[in-house]
């Protein structure tokens, strides 16, 4: 057992546990906090894979921006009480069945398809430094990149419009 592997297992267990707790916690605030932890652990995976840029972005966007937004919303709505009514039992049972079924199915699929995986190769090139990524992003993916910015702009305008109080509403 190499330290890397141990790290991976630890991180994986942490990720799954926090993800599960996110869903299972009754208090939305707790959920949000578990989700932050989940995001951070995923960042850990990225670092393990040496994807520094994505890891940083993950931290900033998810753990930072998005989660703050969520927390704000939760608090705005004053949802920190544990007053959520459960879904009907049959639905919950269905959810669990689906969960188990899906996991089994997907895992079986990937186990079955393992044979066509080749050897892990290493080109030796530095393919995931910020420098390389930036070149790819701003050369080949220039147009989608710009579209992404437009998308974000539109999302911002939309959000503002949606949340604005309509004056002439009775």
């Amino acid at each position: 057992m190499s330290p890397v592997l141990i790290t991976f297992y630890f991180l994986a267990a942490f990720t799954l546990a926090t993800a599960f707790l996110t869903i299972y916690s009754k208090n939305p605030i707790h959920s949000a906090i578990y989700l932050v932890l989940c995001m951070v652990s995923i960042m850990g995976h990225y670092l393990l894979l040496n994807a520094q840029f994505v890891a940083i972005v993950q931290l900033i966007v998810y753990a930072g921006a998005i989660m703050v937004l969520m927390l704000f919303t939760i608090m705005l709505m004053n949802l920190n009480k544990e007053d959520e009514v459960h879904k009907p039992r049959i639905t919950r049972l269905g959810a669990i069945v689906v969960f188990i079924l899906m996991s089994m199915v997907l895992i079986t699929i990937f186990i079955n398809s393992k044979t066509i995986m080749g050897e892990y190769d290493s080109t030796g090139e530095d393919f995931q430094s910020i420098k390389v990524l930036g070149k790819v992003l701003l050369n080949e993916y220039m147009v989608p990149f710009e579209f992404a910015s437009i998308l974000l702009l539109v999302a911002m305008i939309g959000t503002v419009l949606l949340t604005k109080k309509e004056k002439d509403q009775k």
Binding site: I23, F53, Q58, M70, V98, F110, V136, L137, A148
Partner: protein, 107 residues
């Protein structure tokens, strides 16, 4: 020459991890009534996919997978922003964000 880290961990471990993470997300969507938690479940699913992208990017030694993760994060950010805005206005109108109480999506 840097050794490929997947030689140590193995891509299948990542696959199992992401599958489980994704299924937890699905479970959350089905299980909860609180719209924000459902939202979070969706984020978990997105993250599971992102993680798989990055893992395969490493597997193929190719940066494009990470570029895609970048885009998906941008979309996720936009989605969260708009979605939460909608939730806020829903809450303002109905006083609740329980998805089972949202019954007006019909003509």
């Amino acid at each position: 020459m840097i050794e490929n880290i997947l030689n140590i961990i193995g891509i299948e471990n990542y696959i199992f991890l992401t599958v489980l993470l994704f299924c937890i997300g699905v479970f959350g969507v089905l299980y909860r009534r609180n719209a924000i938690i459902v939202f979070m479940s969706i984020e978990i699913m997105l993250n599971a996919v992102n993680l798989l992208f990055v893992a395969f990017s490493t597997y193929h030694q190719d940066a494009e997978g990470q570029v895609f993760v970048f885009f998906s994060m941008a979309v996720a950010a936009a989605e969260v922003a708009v979605g939460l805005a909608i939730l806020v206005s829903v809450f303002r109108n109905l006083g609740s964000i329980d998805i089972d109480n949202l019954k007006n999506l019909k003509g």
